[in-house]
């Protein structure tokens, strides 16, 4: 009899327990292995820093972020998404660096009724007709950053440009975005392999084409190799180099002085003047050594956005959180972020230059603003 009472009491306690300590669970997917591992490491650091700043809580409730490695493989990403939703029963899926991976898991997550928050990838396929109300981007739409670069180069009076990007969704989006604002002559549009390490053949062809300017998108390890080989082949005497997502604090430690003076566009910079960003950059540098990149700031922003959504909605109900995020005004390292009708941010795009800081560390500095409150061009096709 005593035993029975005890077990009834236990059962009662177990039913009551979730109401007392409801945990907000986030599944965070990033790339920790392979040549892109350095990007994922920055995102992992940023997520940890965000949770530390939030005292381990998300929206006032105990928070838990499960960080998993997608190995930059779409099939692994799909398995992880499945695991997050079915076995971990997360409230939000976040992260995702690569556009091809985001496309692979987009339907799976959004249709499961959970929110999917991108901390980097912004493929055009999920911004227009293929959009879904459960998806939010805390980064940018792929076309936007190169579009800002196109406008800058157009304004600089560049007449002819040679384009180079890896052969996958983001590479195509990037060049489409660039061509939407750059009206000069396109000397050539070259697609390299994703993960390519040696660009000498492409550089030889580029030297023969002798274009006035070159604009490349080579993220992560590809950027390290590309910029190194560009300098070894003394290509600066042939063509002027512009880039997007190629020279940042994940690649600069390996490229060093070879990138000094080069300019690129970005929606975030370590020197953006607001309290959240200053705290983020200072604490990141103190805790992990070295500058954070936009990959890190976007991961930090994604966690902060989840905190903001849960806190304001008062629960982890998808519809309630969606309403909060769709209204915009999300506090981030880029100031209060506005949201477009397709759930992509409307934000400023800056021109940055690679410089040395006071300690001689190679970093980036904002030198101008190319677009203010810039919205992507796919939003008009998005109907939820």
């Amino acid at each position: 009899m005593k035993k029975l009472i005890l077990s009834t009491a236990l059962a009662g306690a177990m039913i009551a327990a979730p109401a007392v300590a409801d945990t907000v669970k986030v599944g965070f997917m990033t790339t920790l292995s392979g040549s892109a591992g350095v990007i994922g490491k920055q995102q992992e650091n940023a997520v940890k820093l965000a949770m530390e700043h939030l005292g381990g809580k998300l929206g006032g409730m105990p928070g838990e972020v499960i960080i998993m490695d997608d190995q930059r493989k779409p099939d692994v990403a799909k398995q992880l998404a499945n695991r997050f939703i079915k076995s971990d029963k997360v409230d939000v899926v976040a992260g995702v660096i690569w556009s091809n991976l985001l496309v692979a898991i987009h339907q799976q997550v959004t249709r499961s009724g959970k929110l999917l928050i991108s901390a980097n990838a912004g493929p055009s396929t999920v911004a227009g007709a293929g959009c879904h109300e459960n998806f939010f981007s805390l980064s940018w739409q792929n076309d936007q950053t190169p579009a800002a670069m196109g406008k800058y180069m157009q304004d600089q009076g560049v007449k002819e440009v040679y384009l180079m990007a890896p052969n996958y969704q983001a590479g195509k989006d990037m060049l489409t975005g660039f061509k939407s604002t750059f009206k000069g002559k396109i000397a050539a549009e070259v697609y390299t392999q994703l993960g390519q390490t040696d660009f000498q053949a492409e550089l030889s062809a580029l030297r023969a084409a002798n274009p006035e300017a070159t604009m490349v998108f080579q993220p992560g390890g590809m950027g390290v190799n590309f910029v190194k080989q560009w300098n070894q082949a003394n290509m600066n005497s042939v063509s002027k180099l512009f880039s997007v997502f190629t020279t940042d604090s994940t690649t600069l430690p390996a490229i060093k002085d070879a990138a000094l003076g080069s300019r690129h566009t970005q929606s975030w910079s370590p020197d953006i003047d607001n309290a959240i960003n200053k705290k983020f950059v200072a604490d990141y540098k103190a805790k992990f050594g070295g500058y954070p990149s936009y990959y890190a700031s976007q991961a930090y922003d994604a966690i902060m956005a989840i905190d903001y959504a849960v806190g304001k909605a008062g629960s982890t109900d998808t519809a309630a959180m969606r309403k909060v995020l769709a209204a915009g005004n999300i506090p981030t390292t880029r100031g209060n972020l506005k949201m477009n009708t397709n759930h992509f941010p409307i934000q400023d795009f800056y021109l940055r230059e690679v410089v040395k800081d006071a300690d001689g560390v190679v970093t980036v500095k904002t030198v101008g603003t190319v677009f203010e409150d810039y919205a992507d061009s796919y939003a008009k096709d998005c109907k939820f």
């Binding site: 920790l32 292995s33 392979g34 040549s35 591992g37 350095v38 994922g40 490491k41 052969n167 549009e189 070259v190 697609y191 390299t192 392999q193 993960g195 390490t197 040696d198 000498q200 053949a201 492409e202 030889s204 062809a205 023969a208 390890g221 390290v224 190799n225 190194k228 080989q229 070894q232 082949a233 003394n234 994940t250 690649t251 430690p253 390996a254 490229i255 060093k256 070879a258």
Partner: protein
């Protein structure tokens, strides 16, 4: 496309080819003689590159760094063979694949723990960062030019060693029929240990030459391992001469495919379709080549006589 550009691309293809040969030479002998599948061969490339990077940073001299890194990779090969590889000879291929795949994960993680996940900074020495004039009006990066010469010198060295020396004769005999060679009183175990370590050293040398060109990072040799497997299949497993010829063919086909295929496709397709199909076809080119070779010569172009 001008003659100078085509010549330059042939140089690029040759440079890729000799680098592949250095990796494939060890692989083809190990597979040919001991019938041992070593997927961890790509890790030797990474270990060579890291050894050269660290030793160059310590000594402050690129040449000294590479010179010291060569015995380091050789010793590493000996130790690896003694500790792990020799226990796997009697197992079947599937188990060898599993074990050496495990070694890849182990080495990648060990390097990541020791040196961090990011790429290491390793730049060219000033004496090799200039250009050589291959022809008037055709400057070619001096370092890549010297990679071609180092690769060729190694190829000649390995070729002469295998074809003209007594140990080379044992190696060739081992490749054709290992049991018979052992029955003739040759210590095939010791022979194999030396071949394994020499193969590791040449793969390491390839890594040292790649270090200044590409990023020195965990897993940097894996893509090359797949290409060098293609090379030894085309060349004929166990054949050093076949490996060299196949490596140069693969290097040139890969380079030319990347540069020429999009141009050729654009001449009869519209721009968007050509931009999509070109790079896709180029990345398949060497595998198509392998398939064609296998159809006509199932044992490769130059199988060892046996």
């Amino acid at each position: 496309m001008t003659f100078a550009l085509i010549l330059e691309q042939i140089f690029n293809g040759f440079q890729t080819g000799v680098t592949l040969f250095l990796i494939a030479a060890g692989l083809t002998l190990v597979l040919g003689i001991m019938d041992f599948v070593n997927l961890a061969h790509g890790s030797q490339v990474m270990i060579g590159a890291y050894a050269a990077t660290v030793l160059t940073a310590l000594t402050g001299n690129f040449y000294l760094g590479v010179l010291l890194a060569i015995p380091v990779t050789f010793l590493f090969g000996i130790v690896l063979e003694l500790v792990i590889i020799r226990h796997l000879y009697q197992r079947d291929h599937m188990e060898q694949v599993l074990a050496t795949f495990g070694l890849i994960l182990f080495f990648n993680e060990a390097v990541r723990i020791g040196f961090g996940p990011g790429a290491l900074f390793f730049n060219l020495p000033d004496s090799l960062s200039g250009f050589v004039m291959v022809m008037p009006d055709m400057p070619y990066p001096a370092f890549r030019f010297s990679v071609i010469w180092v690769g060729l010198a190694c190829a000649i060295l390995i070729g002469l060693f295998v074809a003209r020396t007594r140990i080379g004769a044992m190696v060739r005999a081992g490749a054709s029929n290992p049991e018979m060679t052992a029955a003739l009183g040759i210590n095939i175990r010791l022979l194999f240990r030396l071949i394994f370590a020499a193969g590791a050293t040449f793969a390491g040398l390839a890594g040292m030459m790649l270090g200044p060109l590409t990023a020195v990072e965990p897993g940097m040799g894996e893509g090359l391992l797949i290409l060098s497997l293609v090379v030894i299949i085309i060349g004929g497993i166990g054949s050093v001469r076949g490996a060299f010829i196949a490596a140069v063919i693969v290097g040139i086909v890969d380079t030319m495919g990347r540069v020429l295929l999009p141009v050729i496709l654009r001449s009869f397709m519209d721009q968007a379709a050509a931009d999509g199909a070109g790079p896709a076809l180029a990345s398949m080119a060497v595998y198509i080549l392998m398939a064609v070779v296998l159809v006509f010569r199932p044992t490769g172009l130059f199988p060892p006589k046996g």
